[in-house]
């Protein structure tokens, strides 16, 4: 029941927020903040429960809710929550709050409808993170898309039309592949057992022929990777992130990209373990290429939001690299990277939005020397630039390094290539700081510093970044059973590369070594 609450609260509050516009301008904002806070608290409640009950093996969820919907086609209202989803839902609610604070002054027209769309999209995202019936999953997957499209198309910047089209077409094409694959899976289930089923646990036990598995895996892979924005399916991402209003950019980069990542972890990898282990090096290659490609293009940009968008591609490359490395360490790093990237990119977009609001431009060539005028903004920008370049002690570092540590045993060459991304991250992050906040002040344009609310929000994100950077256990311990589960099918499958199993045995040796003295 609590799971349905998580989804329904934002969705039901959405029309309320729309109506709230009539009462006062700020009513929709407060309604949205209240809703997301409730979601946040509910998730924290779930998080504080004992996670040790969760054993390995699929279908063992911390909280589960199951009722039938269309039994004839094997469709049910099946929600399940485990360590991975609880972390991501918490992130969603939190990033949602950031997005609303960030658009507090920016959005002045159709305030109610804006927040209605935000809440609907977030409800869809939470549904995606909870649904373990594939039909239901797809329903939520599409549910989050339309409000997102509206957010970009109505409140976006100058080129919003083409950007929103591009976003819609790319993600919709990905969804189509996904839909075909989901239906094919259900039909295959009917073929083998005589009844169709969209249920995760049923499909998990399905054995698919090798050739079929290849095609289905590809569809599942591309469908999710499009959302993640990894090359070569990333073309929509820079345009969309740049043209979307600040709040939508934060949601897109901070949360929507995570739904793709979640899909890969939840469905693509465990559903097709055999084929996946063959294909994993190629995906890792795409990840490594994405890291470098995104970083190089980030260095090219003069538009600050575009720079951040490309840095996001680069960071999501680390996720791909880690998620497909097949070691628990790399997977843990990949999840950490999701959380860390959500926090840092949210803050970066928030500051890019603040800059645009103050100077009516995103072009860094027209900025410069802002440190003296807006010291708060500059300090926070420096902090998050450091987070983005992977400074140790902050959450991004943990994510990136766990990924690199974990994937070195699987793919040394790719890992070394990916490490070069760290140098480039320094180049674009510091370049951004230099061009906006340091140097000569271009023109005297009086601008106010960050408001207390915005500064407080950024400070809160900064504290979270440091907390997760110095005490990543908070996240890692919650996701550990899930990641452990993910590694096992790869180990069990016959056609695996032998490194992962080696690493597992090594880690057991190591733990015994530690406990000895």
């Amino acid at each position: 029941m609590i799971l349905w609450l998580l989804i329904l609260i934002p969705i039901l509050a959405a029309p309320l927020a729309w109506m709230g516009q009539q009462w006062s301008r700020n009513a929709p904002r407060w309604i949205a903040i209240g809703t997301l806070s409730v979601d946040c608290l509910l998730t924290l409640l779930l998080l504080s429960q004992d996670h040790s009950v969760q054993t390995s093996g699929h279908g063992s969820w911390l909280v589960e809710s199951h009722s039938s919907w269309i039994p004839r086609w094997g469709i049910s209202l099946h929600l399940g929550l485990d360590g991975l989803s609880v972390i991501l839902i918490l992130l969603t609610a939190f990033i949602g709050l950031i997005a609303i604070v960030a658009s507090w002054t920016e959005i002045q027209s159709r305030v109610g409808f804006f927040h209605c769309n935000v809440l609907l999209a977030l409800g869809g995202v939470i549904g995606v993170f909870l649904a373990i019936d594939l039909f239901l999953f797809f329903f939520f997957w599409e549910l989050m898309l339309v409000p997102m499209y509206l957010l970009i198309a109505i409140w976006g910047h100058a080129h919003r039309r083409s950007a929103s089209f591009k976003f819609f077409l790319f993600t919709q094409a990905g969804s189509l592949l996904l839909l075909v694959a989901i239906i094919a899976l259900a039909l295959l289930h009917q073929h083998t057992t005589g009844r169709p089923s969209f249920d995760y646990a049923d499909l998990m036990e399905l054995t698919v022929t090798h050739g079929m598995a290849w095609w289905l895996m590809l569809a599942f892979l591309i469908g999710f990777v499009v959302k993640l924005g990894a090359p070569p399916f990333h073309s929509w991402l820079p345009d969309t992130y740049t043209e979307a209003p600040t709040g939508a950019s934060i949601i897109l980069a901070g949360i929507l990209a995570k739904t793709g990542a979640y899909g890969l972890l939840r469905f693509t990898i465990p559903l097709f373990p055999g084929v996946m282990s063959e294909f994993a090096p190629i995906v890792m290659g795409f990840g490594a290429v994405g890291i470098l490609y995104g970083a190089v293009l980030a260095c090219c940009q003069t538009d600050i939001k575009r720079l951040v968008a490309y840095s996001s591609i680069s960071h999501m490359g680390f996720f791909l690299l880690g998620a497909f490395a097949g070691t628990e360490l790399a997977l843990q790093g990949a999840v950490m990277q999701l959380v860390a990237h959500g926090l840092s990119i949210g803050a970066l977009f928030m500051m890019a939005g603040a800059l645009q609001e103050r100077f009516q431009t995103r072009d860094m060539r027209q900025m410069g020397g802002l440190w003296g005028m807006t010291p708060r903004l500059a300090t926070m920008a420096l902090f998050f630039a450091c987070a983005s370049l992977g400074l140790p002690g902050l959450a991004n570092f943990i994510g990136e390094f766990l990924v690199l540590f974990g994937s070195y045993s699987a793919q040394p060459v790719l890992t070394i290539l990916a490490s070069l991304g760290m140098v480039m991250a320094a180049i674009y992050s510091l370049g951004m700081m230099q061009r906006t906040f340091f140097g000569q002040q271009r023109e005297i344009r009086i601008a106010s510093d960050l408001s207390n609310a915005a500064f407080g929000t950024l400070l809160l994100i900064a504290v979270l970044q440091i907390w997760l950077g110095l005490y990543p256990k908070t996240v890692l311990i919650t996701t550990k059973p899930v990641m452990n589960m993910l590694v096992q099918p790869v180990v069990a499958s016959p056609n695996l590369t032998h490194q992962p199993s080696e690493s597992v045995s090594f880690s057991t040796i190591f733990t015994s070594q530690v406990s000895a003295p």
Binding site: P231, P232, H234, S235, V296, L297, C299, C300, Q301, T302, D303, R306, T327, E328, L329, Q332, G369, G372, P375, L382, L391, P392, G393, I398, F401, L402, L404, F405, Y408, S409, P412, T415, I416, S419, M422, V423, A426, I427, L430, Q434, F438, G439, Q440, Q441, L470, Y471, P472, K473, L476, I477, K480, N484, S503, F506, S507, I509, F510, T511, Q513, V514
Partner: protein, 629 residues
């Protein structure tokens, strides 16, 4: 008491946090109190911890403290834990002690600056990061400190952010060192993958067991660590950032780019000496890099015109000596030179800062002169520093440390004779460029009128450091002179002592020492002939800094900047010139295709109802025909 170890890095960190959050509301005096006080109390805590450490020494060679488990997942277990032994205690003492003096000096030096609180916040953060680096028990924590000091170095070089060149210098410093850091990180990946541990002590014992001497893995890891060390310590080929880093305020140059951060590479190699011992080839490379850097930097220092750039090149050169010592296996000698160097080089920078401040931020030595009478305190302390750097025998610390290194190079089984000759030439050049500064700046006629001596807060650190620059050397004196071995005995608990070649006796040591003495004095004498105002050569108005091609080459630091500019920077800018991207073009073709398809198809849509009806009929007939067939 020793359990207070965690306070040593925590105090400057707390100072940073206080200054970063509330610095804007403090008065300057409060800022100075917090800034200096945090480092001062850290130094005091170091004294307490050191006292207790010596009580148990040498029975308890190391002390270990874990604060919390930093990362503990899936086989990677890394704690936020400190490791104190003879080596790290030495480093901590230098960082907090000299750090405190420099903070004290900055309280006056930076007094007029608008970013006073920001400056002290960065400096405190730097001290905290540097202490983390040297106290870290595992390599990941060390890496945290390693990147942390890099960040602070970046922030402090670009401290005066309004100057775009300073920002460029800061970025250059960070990016060049980050190249080294990345290599270091890759080394960590390999180490962890192979040995499943990152604890410094555990890794080294595991490596010694698992890898034979000269094995490929050991060599690769050692090379990667060496690249990291080379980047941080501004050695060839990643040395280009250090001269530009002089853009920062002078106390920064003294603390970060002379006394502490740039010696982090030396510390890393000394800390990982078991690993480097497994790779003799790499050790030889270290020695050669050290020698090459020390000669390159010394020759460049000869012709610089900016007083701080002279000192920057001299720093590179002196760290070259330390690398040389590490390369030949004289670990303790390298650390001894680190100790003396951080005293006399901090002194030189602070004295130079005093000169610069009194000359209204004039840094060109050709606009200086005759300051001996106007700034007596500065003159005498600078003279002591320069004397220590050139290694004037018997009375200066630099002599003892440099002599130890040269004797090690002479007598080590890992060394070659030509390396020794090179190092000897370097000693001569050191005397030459040090005293060129003295003669140019403090002798002759006054070219820029100074404003007068600095105040007490700047004078005290100068005097204390001058005292140290003279006396620290007495901790270790060679057999032939007094035979004091306090320092080597102390460090022998953390670092192995070097074995001597057979046939190295006192007489050969005496001969070697004479050679060192003569070369240093020769350098100073040559400087007097060339640069002392009133000397023959000097009267003809000549200096080495005229526009001859060789001099231009030397002035640019052997043209490395230009080389890198051509080979890396320009291609990079060419690559990143265009913000568009190729892949996007591909998708654009897709839309162009769809559009032309649409244009073609839309011809069928005439808008005439009868046309549509006719097509429906024809279509139906065709379908019926198809079915009929």
């Amino acid at each position: 008491m020793i359990s207070l170890l965690w306070l040593i890095p925590a105090l400057p960190l707390a100072g940073f946090l206080v200054l970063a959050l509330f610095g804007g509301r403090f008065t300057r005096q409060q800022v100075a109190w917090v800034g200096c006080g945090s480092v001062g109390t850290a130094a005091f805590t170091t004294a307490l911890v050191g006292w207790e450490f010596f009580q148990g020494f040498p029975d308890h060679e190391s002390y270990h403290q874990t604060l919390w488990n930093w990362i503990d997942t899936s086989g990677l277990t890394v704690g936020v834990s400190w490791y104190l032994d003879a080596l790290s205690l030495l480093m901590v003492a230098v960082i907090t002690g000299i750090g405190f003096l420099i903070h004290l000096y900055s309280a006056e030096y930076m007094a007029g600056d608008e970013g006073y609180a920001r400056f002290f916040a960065y400096m405190n953060l730097f001290v905290a990061a540097m202490l983390t680096l040297v106290l870290a028990d595992n390599l990941l924590l060390l890496y945290l400190g390693w990147e942390g000091v890099g960040l602070c170095s970046y922030l402090l070089i670009g401290f005066w952010y309004r100057e775009p060149e300073y920002g460029t210098a800061a970025q250059k410093a960070f990016i060049v060192t980050r190249i080294g850091d990345t290599a270091f990180a890759i080394g960590l990946f390999i180490l962890f993958t192979q040995l499943k541990s990152l604890s410094i002590q555990q890794v080294q014992s595991l490596a010694t067991e698992a890898w034979p001497v000269g094995s490929n893995l050991a060599t690769i890891v050692a090379v990667l660590f060496l690249i990291g060390a080379v980047g941080k310590s501004a050695q060839l080929p990643l040395q280009v950032w250090l001269p530009d880093a002089m853009a920062g305020p002078t106390p920064v140059s003294a603390l970060i780019h002379a006394a502490t951060m740039v010696t982090a590479g030396v510390y890393l190699i000394a800390r990982m000496h078991h690993l480097f011992a497994l790779a003799p080839l790499v050790q030889e490379v270290i020695a050669v890099i050290g020698l090459a850097t020390l000669l390159l930097a010394a020759t460049s220092a000869l012709v610089q015109q900016d007083i701080k750039r002279v000192l920057a090149y001299s720093t590179m050169s002196q760290i070259g000596y330390m690398f040389l010592a590490l390369g030949v296996g004289a670990w303790s000698a390298a650390l001894f030179h680190f100790l003396t160097h951080s005293c006399f080089k901090a002194l030189l920078f602070l004295a130079a800062g005093s000169v610069i401040k009194s000359l209204h931020h004039e840094q060109n030595i050709f606009w200086m002169g005759g300051l001996r009478r106007h700034l007596p305190w500065t003159f005498w302390t600078f003279l002591i520093g320069a004397a220590a750097m050139s290694g004037i025998p018997l009375i200066t610390s630099g002599f003892y440390s440099k002599d130890w290194i040269l004797w090690s190079v002479w007598s080590s089984p890992l060394s070659h004779r030509w390396i020794w000759y090179g190092a000897l030439l370097g000693a001569m050049l050191t005397g030459l460029y040090s005293f060129r500064l003295i003669f140019r700046v403090f002798f002759g006629e006054v070219r820029t009128q100074p404003t007068g001596e600095p105040g007490l807060a700047m004078r005290v650190p100068l005097v204390v450091l001058a005292f140290l620059a003279l006396t620290v050397g007495f901790l270790e004196m060679p057999h032939t002179l007094g035979n004091v071995t306090l320092f080597s005995q102390y460090l022998s608990h953390a670092l192995p002592t070097m074995e001597l070649l057979p046939g190295m006796d006192e007489s050969s040591e005496t001969r070697e020492q004479l050679a060192v003495t003569v070369s240093a004095l020769l350098g100073i004498g040559l400087a007097a002939i060339l640069f002392l105002p009133g000397s023959n050569f000097s009267r003809r108005g000549a200096d080495l800094s005229t526009g001859r091609p060789l001099v231009t080459l030397l002035q640019s630091g052997w043209g490395f900047d230009r080389l890198y500019d051509r080979a890396c920077v320009r291609p990079w800018f060419l690559l990143t010139r265009n913000p568009g991207e190729l892949l996007d073009r591909g998708y654009e073709w897709l839309t162009v295709g769809a559009e032309s398809c649409h244009r073609w198809m839309s011809h069928t849509q005439t808008g005439h109802v009868r046309w549509y009806a006719a097509t429906v009929v024809v279509g139906t007939l065709v379908l019926l025909g198809l079915f009929a067939m």
